[in-house]
C-alpha cells in the first residue's frame, strides 16, 4: 500500500507541472465548496471531533486518503484527489477511480469532463455481488440471552430477481477485528476502550442465517430499504473503498450499527442518519431511525429454529409429543407398532419434531456426541422415506416487531410513602428493558438494564418543609434477569446477575454496593383451550441466589447471603403484574437474615407511557430481633 500511495504522490507532482484545469481561481473555489459539502464528509467518514471541534475521519488507515493531511483535512484531501481522478489513459485497475469509485462517481457531477478509466477488478467484483437492493438485517433478541437485546445489524445485498435465494446474497458486516490470542477479559476491555480495529467484511448471508437462526435461536427481521439503483450502486462502490482499511471500533458508539448507518450516509445525499447516534448506537434505534426517515419498505420475518420447534410441537397430540421425545431416547421405537400405526403424515410430524428436538439438545444443551450424531442421521433417514410434505402450519409472525416496542431510554417520576414518610422519586435509565416495562416487542421473561439511577426526596415531617432530604436511592450498573420458560421440549435455565448500589427501605439505611447472582427454573402457566387458543396466566419462577453487599453500615463492612427467590410474572400488552418474595440468610460477614415481598402492577397508557403501582415490605432479622420497612408508590414511566 505504501508503494501505491507513493505512486499517487508521483502522479500528483506530474499533474502539478502540467497546465491542468485545477489551479485557476475558479476551480480552487469549486474545491473549497465541494470539500465543505456534507456528502464529501460522509464519503470520507469525517466527523467533527466532539471535544476539540476539528474535522477528523473515523477511518484509521493511511490508504483511505491520498493527502498526508487527509485524515484531518477534507479540503487538502479533495485537492489531492481531483487531479488524479481527472487523469486519462490509465492502466487497467491502476487509476484512482478504481480505488475510490464512490468518491469518483459523486464528484463527477461537478467535473463532467472526467473520463471513466478501466477497472476490471472492480467490475468483476460488482458483478459477483450483483446488488440491486439493500436489506437491513436485524437479528432479534433471543430467549435466555438478554445481552442479545442490544443485537447486531448488517446489510444484505439482494439480487434483482426476487426469486433468487436470499441465502445466496452477500451481506455487509462491520465488526471488531479482535486478536484471537486475547483472552475474554482483554477482549471485553479492548472492545470497550477501542483497542480493536473495526473492519468491513462481506459474508454470504447463509453464514449469518446459520449463526442466528440455527445456533442462537434468534428470530431475524429483514427490513428492505427503498433506495434507488444508483444509491445501491454507490453503496457497493463505497464498500469497495473500505477494503483493507480500518475504522475505530467502540462498542458503545462507533459499533456495527453506527458504521452501517455511516456507510449508508456515504451512498446517498438523501441519507443522513448516522448523526443521530453521536453518543451510542443501539441497533434497534438505527432501524427506527431509518423507518422514521421513510427508507424502509417491506419487512420480513425469519423465525428461528426455537420458534419453529415451539410452534410446531403445539400441533402435535399429546401422544405424538411423548413419542417424539421417546424416539430421541431410543431410535428403535420407529420400528415399533405405536409409531407404525400412525398415518404417514403423523409419522412425518413426529420425526420432524424429534429431529428438531435432538438438534435443540445438541445445540443448546451441549449434548453433542457420536451417538447423537448417529441418532440424528437415523431419524433424518427415516424422514426421507416419507414423501409427504408441509406437515406443519406456516409459522405465525409476532404481532409486534422489536422496533415497535417502547423506546430505549426511560424517565420515571413516582410519589410514595416509606415507613410513614412521603417521598418523590426521579429516575433515569439509559437502557433498556425490565420485566415490568411494557412488554410488546420484547422477548417475554427477558430483562437487561444498564445505568438506571433513582434519586429520592424524602419529607420526614409532613408538617414542615425543613425536613426534606435528597438522596441517591439506587443505582443499577447492570441488572440482567432471564426467565426462559421450560416446556415439554425446551428447558432453558433462568438466571440473574445484578450489580450496583441500593438501600434497604429501613429508617436510616445507608447506600450499599451489591452483587447478586442467581439461577433457577421458570414455567409457563398458559393453558391450551379446546378451541386451540391459549389463555395466558403468566409464568412462575424460582431462583437460588447469593448476594454480596458491602458498606460501612454492616459489621465487618460486608455481608454474603445465600437463599432463594420465587415469583410470578404476567406480561400482558395492557396489564403487567409481578409478585415476588425472597429469603436470604447470612452466610458470611454481618449476621442478619433478609426477607422481602414486592408487588407491582403496571398498565399501558400509550406505546411509550406506563403507569405503575408498587408495594414492598422488607424484614431484617438479627439475633432474634426483627426490624421492618415498607413502601408504596405510584409512578409514571416515560420511554424516549
Amino acid at each position: 500500500m505504501f508503494f501505491l500511495k507513493k505512486s499517487y504522490a508521483a502522479c500528483f507532482i506530474i499533474s502539478l507541472l502540467t497546465p491542468f484545469q485545477s489551479y485557476s481561481a475558479e476551480s480552487s473555489q469549486t474545491i473549497q465548496k465541494i470539500s465543505a459539502m456534507q456528502q464529501w464528509q460522509h464519503l470520507l467518514h469525517y466527523r467533527s471531533h466532539s471535544i476539540l471541534g476539528y474535522m477528523e475521519s473515523e477511518n484509521d488507515s493511511d490508504n483511505f486518503f491520498i493527502s498526508e493531511m487527509g485524515k484531518v483535512d477534507p479540503h487538502s484531501e479533495l485537492l489531492a484527489e481531483v487531479p488524479l481522478f481527472a487523469m486519462q489513459n490509465q492502466l487497467d485497475n491502476e487509476s484512482l477511480q478504481c480505488r475510490f469509485p464512490a468518491r469518483y462517481h459523486w464528484l463527477k457531477q461537478f467535473y463532467p469532463d472526467w473520463v471513466d478509466q478501466p477497472c476490471s477488478e472492480l467490475s468483476a467484483w460488482k458483478d459477483e455481488i450483483d446488488a440491486h437492493k439493500l436489506t437491513l438485517i436485524f437479528p432479534a433478541s433471543y430467549l435466555n440471552s438478554p445481552s442479545s437485546m442490544y443485537g447486531h445489524s448488517l446489510i444484505r445485498l439482494d439480487k434483482e430477481d426476487e426469486s433468487k435465494s436470499k441465502l445466496l446474497s452477500y451481506s455487509v458486516n462491520f465488526a471488531a477485528n479482535a486478536d484471537p490470542t486475547d483472552n475474554e477479559l482483554v477482549f471485553s476491555y479492548k472492545g470497550l476502550a477501542g483497542g480493536y480495529p473495526g473492519v468491513v467484511s462481506i459474508l454470504p448471508y447463509y453464514a449469518k442465517v446459520n449463526e442466528y437462526s440455527h445456533l442462537e435461536h434468534r428470530d431475524v427481521w429483514e427490513y428492505q430499504l427503498n433506495l434507488t439503483e444508483q444509491e445501491v450502486d454507490q453503496f457497493v462502490n463505497h464498500i469497495w473503498e473500505t477494503k483493507e482499511t480500518e475504522f475505530d471500533y467502540f462498542f458503545f458508539d462507533e459499533n456495527c450499527s453506527y458504521r452501517l448507518l455511516a456507510l449508508l450516509d456515504a451512498s446517498s445525499e438523501r441519507i443522513n442518519v448516522a448523526d443521530d447516534f453521536s453518543l451510542k448506537a443501539m441497533p434497534i434505534d438505527t432501524i427506527r431511525s431509518l423507518i422514521d426517515s421513510d427508507k424502509v419498505g417491506e419487512v420480513e420475518y425469519r423465525p428461528s429454529s426455537g420458534v419453529m420447534l415451539n410452534q410446531q410441537q403445539e400441533q402435535l397430540s399429546d401422544e405424538q409429543k411423548i413419542l417424539a421425545v421417546n424416539i430421541v431416547e431410543n431410535v428403535d421405537l420407529i420400528n415399533d407398532e405405536e409409531f407404525l400405526s400412525l398415518t404417514s403424515f403423523e409419522q412425518a410430524q413426529v420425526l420432524e419434531i424429534s429431529i428438531s428436538y435432538l438438534r435443540y439438545l445438541v445445540v443448546k444443551k451441549k449434548q453433542r456426541s457420536p451417538e447423537n450424531r448417529k441418532k440424528s442421521l437415523a431419524l433424518l433417514s427415516a424422514r426421507s422415506k416419507i414423501s409427504v410434505q408441509d406437515v406443519f402450519q406456516p409459522i405465525v409472525e409476532p404481532e409486534v416487531r422489536d422496533d415497535q416496542g417502547h423506546l430505549t431510554h426511560r424517565a420515571t417520576v413516582a410519589l410514595g410513602q416509606q415507613n410513614g414518610d412521603g417521598f418523590i422519586d426521579l429516575g433515569m435509565r439509559i437502557a433498556y428493558h425490565e420485566l415490568m416495562d411494557l412488554p410488546d416487542g420484547f422477548i417475554r421473561g427477558g430483562q437487561i438494564e444498564m445505568g438506571a439511577l433513582t434519586l429520592r426526596g424524602i419529607n420526614k415531617d409532613s408538617t414542615s418543609r425543613d425536613d426534606f432530604s435528597l438522596q441517591l436511592q439506587r443505582f443499577k450498573v447492570i441488572n440482567i434477569l432471564s426467565l426462559g420458560a421450560r416446556d415439554y421440549f425446551q428447558q432453558p435455565i433462568s438466571w440473574r446477575v445484578s450489580t450496583g448500589f441500593d438501600r434497604f427501605i429501613l429508617e436510616g439505611s445507608d447506600l450499599f454496593a451489591h452483587l447478586d447472582v442467581g439461577g433457577g427454573y421458570s414455567y409457563d402457566l398458559s393453558i391450551k383451550n379446546k378451541d386451540k387458543t391459549s389463555s395466558d396466566y403468566g409464568q412462575i419462577y424460582g431462583l437460588l441466589e447469593t448476594r454480596l453487599k458491602a458498606s460501612g453500615q454492616f459489621e465487618d463492612d460486608y455481608q454474603l447471603s445465600a437463599g432463594a427467590q420465587i415469583g410470578w410474572l404476567y406480561q400482558g400488552s395492557q396489564w403487567q403484574m409481578k409478585a415476588h418474595g425472597s429469603w436470604l440468610p447470612s452466610v458470611l460477614g454481618d449476621d442478619f437474615d433478609y426477607q422481602d415481598i414486592v408487588l407491582s402492577l403496571g398498565s399501558k397508557l400509550d406505546r411509550n407511557l406506563q403507569i405503575r403501582v408498587e408495594a414492598s415490605q422488607q424484614w431484617l432479622t438479627k439475633s432474634g430481633r426483627a426490624s421492618d420497612g415498607d413502601s408504596v408508590s405510584l409512578g409514571l414511566n416515560w420511554y424516549f
Partner: protein, 156 residues
Amino acid sequence: MKKIIAGAILAASSTMAFAASPAGCGLGTAVVFKDANEWHEHVLAATTNGTSGNQTFGMTSGTLGCEAANGPLAGVQTFMDNNMDQLAMDVSKGQGETLDALAQIIGVQQSDTSAFNAAMQANFDSMFSAEATSATAYEGMQEAMQTSVELQKYLG
C-alpha cells in the same frame, strides 16, 4: 466465548469476489449439529453492547466461489460444506430454503426443481451416511443427478 478470527476481509482478486477461505472446499464438514454459547458466556457480552453478534465474524468465511473445485459445479461444494446441518434437514423433507439455494447454485431450472428435490430426498442415505462429510454428500448428490434424466444435463 468465541473469538473473532480475522477473515473474509474484503480482498481484491481478479476472478473472485473475496479471498477464498483457506480451508478450501469440502474438507469434510460432517453433519453434527453445532453447539452454541451457554448462558454464562452471554454475561460478559452483555456489557459490551452486541459483541455476541460480532464474535462469530469470520468464523465461517466460506465464499460462494471455491478455487479448488472446477467445472460447472464450482462453488457447490463450498456451499454444502457450510450448510451441512440445514441441508441434511431439508433433504430429509425434500423441501426447504437451503435445498432451494443449492438447486440455484447448481443452476437447476424452475421446471426441474421438484425432480431435483425428489432425487435428493430419495438418495438421502447415500448423501448422508454415518461417515458423511460434505465431500461424500457432494459425490452422493452427483450420483443421484447422474441417474435422473432431467438432472444429468446440469453435471456438464
